[in-house]
Symmetry: C2
Subunit: 334 residues, 2 copies
């Protein structure tokens, strides 16, 4: 018997900042699972900055969302019917078909996750895609090494807050930027950052120079734009940049200007390296092996900004792009 | 008995494009060599784009030239007096105190070079700093690997022309940009490039797209600015950029705008790496071992643009920044 479900579809491609009218809540019927498939009731879904890129009709590393089709993204759910020997009713799984209440999909496209003492939503954040992004970006792409002074932009976000904590656990000096005084206090008081500043208070270059008088060695960038230019200016010789994202430009309607100090990349022998997390899937076991024990004994903590109700997922996403989250922005469904 | 010599001093720091009045020809006395020193009569001197940076009063990887002091730079000369057991009168040496007719310096600060069948000036170009720059930049910084389509900007210059030939010898498809139809013909007809275009004929992005319909994998950049933006657009996934220089901006009086497509670095997982040749001195023997035999049997060729007379060195340097050279720009002294 088909299941009634609600889903969020892309109604129109956003121009600039997404509007409520770019999204549409639709009721649909979800079929029963076929052989090898499972029916999942989603309990949590993720909104992530990268989704903004998929809403535009632009060639990229993932195809754009289709107008009139449901959006996609990370989700956690409970198996409510199974035609697969690998998943039992009651199992908690993660998968990539969020933005909807129910979904039928091959069991093989899901991952069963441990929720013993771990909140299911953590698998969308610190133990999920953002967690792996932070881990691989800092260690493999950024090549963190002894003595590095680390700067992370968007440091109070899902990725940035773990980057900072992973670096602190390794004994590094860590500087973070965020977009409010409350977030800055969170970085300093809760996450143990050595220095942090509100990038809205003045030029990023000035704040960074004050926070890092001897310069920085590794920049983990989630923001782009002015942050990247300031970091290129502050990086020491042989410094490295892990380019994870550039949220400052995601709603731009004109190409944002690039750093005006690119010439410094030569003289300082800097390396800038872009990455996307799916190239680093083999590092997931290493990340889990470090982060799970650290979560259990409190050496790593995380915050979530929880929005209730599938119908509010577009508002959550819009708020994410405005920086309304501290830590991971998640939507609780049903 | 002191030797009368002429030298070029920096008379004023250039603002924008250097003027003749920023340089001054001065007659000085050069003392006799002391213990361990040699007196050298310079026969050739180099003008190189990086010297423009040293004429500005800006913190960089080499200290700025001093106003009122002689300029410095690569030179080849003949030993005319020696107080060192390591150098004989008649030896040909290279050193870093060009822009003058005679110089006394410690023998240990010079390198004796082979001029058997090799023109002395080649040690300022294909076998000198530009040669090592091309070799290390292409192989080590750019990480040339099988199947790479290579794009080099300023391809008719001292560095670019060797980058292209080294890549061709390894079987790669090589595309070059240059600033005149004659240079483009030189790349295609003399150096074996697969494609080349005059960047003054239209947008670099359009010319590059036409020359590399399947994109590029490695960009060796001597020019910066529009070239870098076009290359970021044309690079395939996991592409690499060896940032050697950015001559397009060396005379800029305002910070040149950066690439507006930096976001592509993330999605394509690009790596941009700046370098300076002095970090790669250990690769000199490898470069010499490859290039000398290739020069002797004609698999590598090089051009020089020769300006006669020390007094014309400022004009040579100014012409270099305007792209008036094909191959290495050198000044013949005395």
């Amino acid at each position: 018997m088909p299941t009634r479900s609600r889903e969020i579809q892309l109604a129109a491609r956003p121009h600039g900042e997404p509007k409520e009218s770019d999204f549409r809540l639709v009721e649909v019927e979800v079929p029963d699972p076929g052989p090898g498939e499972i029916l999942i009731r989603n309990t949590w879904m993720s909104v992530d900055p990268y989704m903004r890129g998929r809403m535009s009709d632009r060639k990229s590393y993932v195809p754009p969302f289709a107008v009139g089709a449901p959006l996609e993204g990370g989700a956690v759910g409970e198996v409510v019917a199974s035609e697969s020997e690998d998943r039992q009713v009651g199992d908690t799984v993660t998968h990539q078909l969020g933005w909807r209440e129910y979904v039928v999909m091959p069991a093989a496209h899901t991952r069963k996750v441990d929720v013993d003492g771990i909140s299911p939503s953590a698998h969308l954040g610190v133990l999920g895609m953002p967690g792996l992004t932070a881990y691989a970006g800092l260690l493999d792409v950024g090549g963190l090494k002894d003595g590095d002074v680390v700067f992370v932009s968007g440091a109070a976000g899902a990725v940035g807050s773990l980057v900072g904590q992973l670096a602190k656990l390794r004994g590094h000096t860590v500087i973070g930027s965020a977009g409010s005084a409350a977030k800055v206090a969170h970085l300093l008081d809760d996450l143990g950052f050595d220095a942090a500043f509100n990038y809205k208070d003045g030029p990023v270059a000035d704040a960074l120079a004050a926070a890092a008088p001897d310069g920085i060695d590794l920049f983990f960038d989630n923001v782009g734009g002015e942050h990247l230019e300031a970091a290129i200016g502050a990086l020491n010789d042989h410094g490295r940049v892990a380019l994870c994202g550039a949220i400052s430009g995601y709603n731009a309607t004109e190409p944002p200007p690039g750093p005006t100090n690119m010439f410094l990349i030569v003289g300082k022998r800097l390396t800038l390296r872009g990455f996307i997390v799916r190239d680093h899937a083999t590092r997931r076991p290493d990340m889990v092996a470090e982060v799970v024990p650290a979560l259990r004994d409190g050496r790593i903590t995380f915050r979530e900004t929880v929005v209730e109700g599938l119908e509010n997922a577009p508002a959550a996403f819009r708020g994410l792009l405005r920086g309304e989250n501290t830590g991971k922005m998640v939507v609780k469904i049903g």
